[in-house]
């Protein structure tokens, strides 16, 4: 851990507001992005990401500095996201947000728009938004353990070493699950874009 990071943590332990703001500024996007891609629902992601930073504020004394602060923080974020996925899976799906793709694994017969509408948008922006939605849906279709690995490795572009530290999984397991996840996403996209 760098000296600057240690000083920042020390100030956060003293409940320094500026230090907290700095932490949110430094890691807010990464935490939000990770959780949003895990859950597939913006509102849920905002709530969970806020909870993550509140947990950090409350439990910062327990950070011993053995791992990097970002690793510790993302481990909390991953656990919060997993817990919310479990919570959402137990929740009745009636009246669910139509943009919420977090429930896809429990809704296999969910109707999708016609292929023509999905592929040939009137402009590039619409097409990009549609592609993003398809990608998000394909992630939401993965089992939770594979979902986390794809988000950490391919969306957030982290090294295997960082992923090992965050998940506590050995590299071999990460690689084999990641391969299955990537193949599943590719097959899903092939099915929905051809």
């Amino acid at each position: 851990m760098s000296v600057d990071e240690r000083l920042l943590i020390d100030r956060l332990i003293e409940r320094d507001e500026q230090a907290f703001s700095e932490i949110v500024r430094l890691y807010g996007d990464k935490v939000f992005s990770l959780i949003y891609r895990m859950l597939g629902n913006r509102q849920e992601a905002e709530d969970v990401a806020q909870d993550v930073f509140i947990t950090v504020f409350k439990t910062i004394e327990s950070f011993r500095g053995e791992a990097k602060f970002s690793t510790w923080l993302l481990r909390i974020a991953a656990n919060h996201a997993k817990n919310r996925i479990k919570h959402l899976a137990r929740r009745p799906t009636e009246g669910a947000d139509p943009d919420d793709v977090s429930q896809l694994r429990t809704l296999p017969d969910r109707p999708t728009p016609p292929v023509q509408a999905r592929i040939e948008g009137p402009d590039a922006m619409l097409e990009a938004a549609q592609t993003e939605r398809l990608m998000q849906e394909s992630i939401a279709n993965l089992p939770e353990d594979q979902r986390l690995l794809v988000v950490l490795r391919d969306v957030e572009e982290m090294s295997y070493q960082e992923i090992e530290e965050i998940t506590g999984l050995p590299e071999g397991t990460i690689k084999s699950r990641l391969h299955r996840a990537r193949m599943a996403i590719k097959e899903w996209l092939d099915r929905h874009t051809r």
């Binding site: 703001s21 949110v24 935490v31 992005s33 891609r37 509140i54 990608m135 391969h179």
Partner: protein, 120 residues
């Protein structure tokens, strides 16, 4: 190496983490197999597209978290600071007012002797 063996190695191939020997075997298979070459192109595109899914937190993210902490700590931490037009902190407004009053006072003190003339 057959199709299945080659495709099992796609992930490590794309990540560049295959041993030289296995990479050479995959390369040899790809050179001879158009089906696996096509599959690999699609696989690479899929992995590349995932990197474009990064998101940024909403603009009000920090303010919202601080409000939550303020509420949950029953006002112990992160008391909202009064700001003029929602931008200028109270301390700056106070300082500006004091400076303005000081300047006004000095101007009056220096200006009044020449401004007042005795009546003829």
């Amino acid at each position: 190496m057959d199709h299945e063996q080659a495709q099992t190695n796609f992930s490590d191939y794309v990540d560049g983490s295959l041993s030289e020997r296995v990479r050479a075997e995959v390369d040899a298979h790809l050179a001879a197999c158009i089906q696996c070459r096509t599959e690999l192109t699609g696989f690479r595109q899929t992995v590349g597209s995932l990197g474009r899914l990064k998101q940024t937190a909403p603009p009000s993210f920090l303010v919202d978290i601080k409000q939550q902490i303020y509420k949950r700590s029953h006002g112990r931490f992160f008391r909202p600071r009064w700001k003029l037009f929602g931008r200028i902190p109270f301390e700056w407004v106070s300082l500006g007012t004091i400076i303005a009053m000081l300047v006004y006072y000095i101007a009056i003190m220096h200006g009044s002797p020449s401004g007042i003339r005795p009546a003829p």
